[in-house]
Each structure stands twice: as structure tokens, then as C-alpha cells.
Symmetry: C2
Subunit: 356 residues, 2 copies
DNA sequence: CCTCCGCTGGAAAGCGCTTTCCAAGAGGTA
DNA sequence: TACCTCTTGGAAAGCGCTTTCCAGCGGAGG
């Protein structure tokens, strides 16, 4: 008997059941089968025939061919999601939210991780365009300065011209649909809270300056301090990787420059964890007794660190959800912007400044 | 002038640049253009023409239509990844590995989260079949008992018959390509290490019993204890959600049953974190002085908890990578099985038993 | 009784690509 | 010079679906 492997060389089919076969089995035309099963056509099919088609499909275990549908309909049911790194809890939370929203709308999500290489973002966007994704969510923070930024903008424009939709999480320069997170406000609140507890010598450990997220957070903190009569001189800001190790190294550098700091504001929780490690293990300081540490993002484990990390909570999962909603539910003309609030979460890693 | 919106109703095209247009612009036939740009054909194109085609493609910003290619080639460049929850660091790590491997092979990954509903796994597998994914990685632990298990097996068989490939991470009953993690061995090692430190009354907090992962870990621990002359009676095993809260509740229950326990073995790190919280905050015990806590998985923050969590490290990212390699690199006949070792990581949350 | 309309089913024309086949030319050998 | 082989380009036949059009039919209205 003929098995799947013995097809003629000219036969490029996969051996999967086709709609044609379903139609034959049900004794109806291809058109009717298509309408009975997927009928986005606005056309109705008689009850009797519809039942016959459904039965045939069931019996043959028919599974529709999405690429073929995509070709014929000129649209797909996939949305793309571009993040920096899925293993980073920040992006994991966003991804979870986006996937939940996608599920509600019965869409599949194609995910791409750039590992922070700007070139990859462009490449993946092109890949998603090739897939004819309906929409793509750009979750990674934009780069403020980059030769690729312009190319990216062009690519986005091209995509939108073809009917694709793009939304980004966090502000980018461009006028796109945006789900913005209140980085500035959150950072300002964090700085103010430190100030209110008597801290006057506050150090900041920041991620790469090109990230707009970093810029906004830094800016928020700086302004708040200034408006309170303080300042954030350049030597009290150390840039490092946006990771635990980056935070550790940055903290060491910060205290090498000024051992009298009473608080460190980390621009994300990963760095804050590094700061905690540096302070408690390398520098032998007690937190928050001698030095307060404030994080940013409120990753899931923040409350389980010792001391429990005070931080700024960002509604990341909601951001992911909103992003796909925004993009799919009502395709407005003008670019829209949704601002999600940050919330200060005070836990045990911050406390009153000890005046030396 | 005619814009993209003014196409006739009969025109189902997206307005995207097609290969046909590129061919025309380059003054060659469609066939030649196809060969010049993607030629998986084994056929060569003269240098001059190839250059002309490439220039035309560049100039028109041509982006190939993946669905159309998929239809014509009867294969795609997407792999599917089905997990329980992307926000769970366990799956996030696997996903990161899988994505890295996919990138090396220039594949796109379609990800689906089941949120632990077994029905969804089936549904997503069908979705991935519809997409004609080349391969799918089943990352979530299998359910040992489930009405869906059989349906799932059928679905997998159908997919493989059509040329799709499936690999799972962690053992499932079925004879599939598998990247197994040494859950049994890891749990045995963990139990032994506790035993060796003098612990004789060890409680275990476990995730849902249907998960094969849980079964294996539990089994490993039980056997190890038995072989050492101890035992793991049913009342010292409490089942809860595989989450922080589940761990906390389970720990409380465990100590309500037997306040004299000197160690708790959590079957994943999330539960271990809950145990730490329950012990230190709710029960007022010191860890590891009065009670030792051992986790499982070694999530990224395990070392930053207080006390730093002793746990069993699983090479999760490697598992994700291996899975996609296994499945794509050499499509062997017989189902293969790769076993990845677990490694005991002793940190500060475990110590010698205090004999009351 | 005839016409017109609304409804349902089917034939067929694509959607944008890949690949098979064929034709034509180049180069080698007898 | 005649014949054969090898290479390169193009025409055209699909891949599996959706959707447009058209045909046929029954019922309502004149």
C-alpha cells in the first residue's frame, strides 16, 4: 500500500488532509466547504450541508492550512512580539500579558528576542513583516541614539502602509501607538521618598544611557531632586549593564567615588539586587540601617529578597495586554498613547538616613 | 493619484511589493528572480542577473511573502513552543534557550502559553499544525492522568505523519524525542544531602500530583530516603500549587501536622520561596538554624534570597536549546532521549539538623 | 401567468510563490 | 562539421485556500 513517502517527486503536498478532500467526502463543492467551516464570507450555508461538511471535517481530522488561508485572505492571525530577553522578568511579564490578550482574540503570537542587539530588532521586524503578522508589539525600550533607528522607522512605516499595525511599550521618539509607562513619575516618586526620609547623598545606578527607559527614569529622579532643593551630580550616577552583575559593579564604583552615600536608587530591580549584594557582601554595609536601596519594576521576587526591596511597581502585564488590545480593537487614525501609572512600593530596603 | 486604499474591491492584495514586480524591474522572469533571491532550488543564476535581481529587490524594499512561500514549498520556518506560563522563570529559561537555538537556524518561534489548562495544550498544538510549524517543543510537564492525553498523542501522531516533528522537555509517557531532566536524580541528591546533615524528619511540599515532573521528583526523594534507612510517610508530603503562595500554604500545613520537622524539601524554587516566607514570617523559625529549606530548579534569584537558597540546578536554558537542535538537526528514525544532569547547589538555607 | 427578488450552491479566478520541464546556447569531443 | 553534454533562462503548472460571479430555484407581487 502506498505510504506517505512514496509520492511522486512532482507532488509537493504534505499529505495533510485538504479542504478539497473534505468537500468531496461531504459531497459538496470546495466553495461550500470553505464557507461552512470558515465562512468569513458573510454567506450562509444550508443547515444540512453545513452539518455534512462539519461531519466530514471531523471524520477526516481536517486541519486548515493557515499559510494557504493567509495567502488567499491576505491577512493572518499572528501577532509579533519583540522583546530584549524573555528570561528577564520585566519582559516575561509583558509577554505574559500580551499572550493573554492574544488568546482572547484567538491569535497566535510569534516572539523574537533581540538580546539587546539593535540590528536584530530590525531583522525580526522584517521577519514578522514577511510572515504578514497582523500587528507587532515592540516591547524593548527604544535606543535614543542609533543609526538603526531611522531604518527601523522606515520599516515600521512600510509595514503600516501594507496594513500592519505597530505598537510600542514605552515611549520611542516616533509617533506610534504607545503604551507608555510612567518612568519619569515613578523615578521622581522614588527619589522623593528617599529625600523625605532624610537622604541627601543619593547615588544612582543606571542601565545603558541609550535606552530611553533609562533616560526617562534618570530624568525623573534628577528633576525631583532638583525641585526639592537637592541635586544629582554626574559623579553620583554610574552606568552599568541592566543586570544583577551590572548593578553590583556599578554600586562598587559608586561607593568608591563617595563612601558617604546614604542611599542608592537602582534604575531596575535586577541592578538593585546587585546593589544589595555589593553593599551587604562586598562592602559590609547594612541595609537599610546604613544605606537604603530602592529598585524599579517590582519583579516577582522583590518582596522575598532580604531586606525586602522597596521599589516602583510598573503594571507590566497590563501593559502587554493593553498593547495588543490597543492595536487590534480599534484601528484609529491618529497615534494613541496610553499612560500606565507607576506605584511606589515601600518595603524594608529603605529607611531613614543615618546622618553621619 | 491612486493610493493604497483605492484598490478595487476585487483586489485582495495587500499592496506589498511582490516578487513579480521585482522580476519585472530587473528585467528577468519570475523564476529567475525566485532563484536569485531564495534559490533553494539547487539551481544557479548567472552573476549578472543575480546582481540585477538583488538590486531591484533592494530598491523596491522587497520582503518575501512567507505564507506564499510556505504554500509553495510545503514547509515553513517556524517552530512552535508550548509552555505553561512564560512568566514562570522555569519556562522563561527554557524559552530563552529555545529561542537562541532557533535564531541560529534562522527560524521564527511561535509561542503558546497554556496556563496549565490541559485542553489548551491540545488546542495550541492544533494551531501550530495549522500554521504548518516545522517542529514543536512541548515544554510543559505532561499530565500523568488526563483524558486529553490520548487525544494529544493522536494529534502528535497526525502531525508527525505530515512531516512535523515534536520534542518534549521532560519525560512524557509517549515515545517521543525527549530532552529529559534528571528530576529523580536531582531530588535524590537533595534528599540525601539533607539526610547527611542529620535531618530525619523531612517534610516535602509538592506541586500537583498529575505533573510527571512532580511525580519524578517525589519518587526520587522517597527512594533516596528509603535507601538511607529513612522514609517519607504520606503525612509529610503536602501538595499545593507550584507557586510561591502554594509553597507558603503547604508549609503551614506541613508544620501544623508536625511541628518537629527539621527540614523542608520544596519541589520547586517558587514553593521554596513560599516556604521561606512561611517559616520566617508566619512561623517565626530561623532558617537554616531551626529548619533547613531546599529548593529545586535554581531560578536566577535563588542566590539572592535570605538565606540564599540551597537548591538543585537544572540546565533549563540548555534544555531549550537542545530540544530545538535535536528536532531539527538530524531527524532520526527512532525516538531519542537526551538526559541532562541536575546539580546540587548548596547555599545558606540548609544546615545541620538541630536535634531537639 | 409573468417578472423580479432573495437565497443558496458551484465554477473558476486568483493570492504570491517554487519548481518542473523545455529551449537555447556554449563548449567539448570525434 | 556533427553530435552530445552541461548550463542557464523562462513558461507554466501547481500549492490550498477565499471570494467573485453566475445559475438555478422558490416565493412574492403585479
Amino acid at each position: 500500500m502506498a505510504n506517505a513517502r512514496s509520492r511522486s517527486r512532482a507532488d509537493r503536498s504534505t499529505g495533510a488532509v485538504t479542504l478539497q478532500q473534505v468537500a468531496r467526502q461531504a459531497g459538496v463543492s470546495l466553495a461550500t466547504a470553505s464557507r461552512a467551516l470558515h465562512g468569513a464570507d458573510g454567506r450562509s450555508v444550508g443547515d444540512e450541508l453545513r452539518r455534512r461538511v462539519q461531519a466530514a471535517a471531523e471524520e477526516l481530522s481536517y486541519i486548515s492550512n493557515a499559510p494557504a488561508q493567509a495567502l488567499a485572505r491576505a491577512t493572518t492571525s499572528v501577532v509579533g512580539l519583540i522583546v530584549h530577553d524573555v528570561a528577564d522578568p520585566y519582559f516575561a511579564a509583558i509577554a505574559a500579558g500580551a499572550m493573554r490578550a492574544a488568546r482572547e482574540r484567538r491569535l497566535m503570537v510569534m516572539i523574537a528576542a533581540t538580546f539587546r542587539e539593535p540590528g536584530l530588532e530590525l531583522e525580526y521586524l522584517r521577519g514578522l513583516r514577511a510572515q504578514r503578522a497582523r500587528a507587532v508589539v515592540l516591547a524593548g525600550s527604544g535606543l535614543a541614539v542609533s543609526a538603526d533607528t531611522e531604518r527601523l522607522a522606515e520599516e515600521i512605516a512600510g509595514f503600516e502602509e501594507e496594513g500592519g499595525r505597530v505598537v510600542c511599550i514605552g515611549d520611542r521618539g516616533t509617533d506610534l501607538d504607545t503604551v507608555a509607562l510612567d518612568n519619569r513619575g515613578g523615578a521622581a516618586g522614588a527619589a522623593r521618598s528617599l529625600w523625605d526620609q532624610g537622604h541627601r547623598r543619593i547615588g544612582v545606578i543606571a542601565g545603558p544611557r541609550e535606552l530611553t527607559t533609562v533616560r526617562h527614569r534618570l530624568d525623573g529622579a534628577r528633576r525631583a531632586l532638583r525641585s526639592l532643593g537637592g541635586a544629582l551630580p554626574a559623579e553620583r550616577v554610574v552606568v552599568g549593564d541592566f543586570t544583577r552583575e551590572g548593578g553590583r559593579a556599578a554600586t562598587l564604583e559608586l561607593f568608591a567615588r563617595d563612601p558617604g552615600l546614604t542611599a542608592v536608587l537602582a534604575l531596575n530591580d535586577l541592578m538593585a539586587i546587585g546593589a544589595l549584594a555589593a553593599l551587604q557582601q562586598d562592602l559590609g554595609r547594612t541595609v537599610p540601617k546604613q544605606v537604603s536601596v530602592m529598585g524599579f519594576d517590582d519583579v516577582p521576587f522583590a518582596a522575598d529578597l532580604r531586606p525586602a526591596l522597596s521599589t516602583v511597581r510598573l503594571p507590566l502585564e497590563a501593559a502587554g495586554e493593553q498593547a495588543v488590545r490597543l492595536i487590534l480593537d480599534d484601528p484609529a487614525e491618529a497615534p494613541r498613547r496610553v499612560l500606565l501609572d507607576a506605584e511606589l512600593v515601600t518595603r524594608a530596603s529603605t529607611g531613614p538616613a543615618t546622618h553621619a
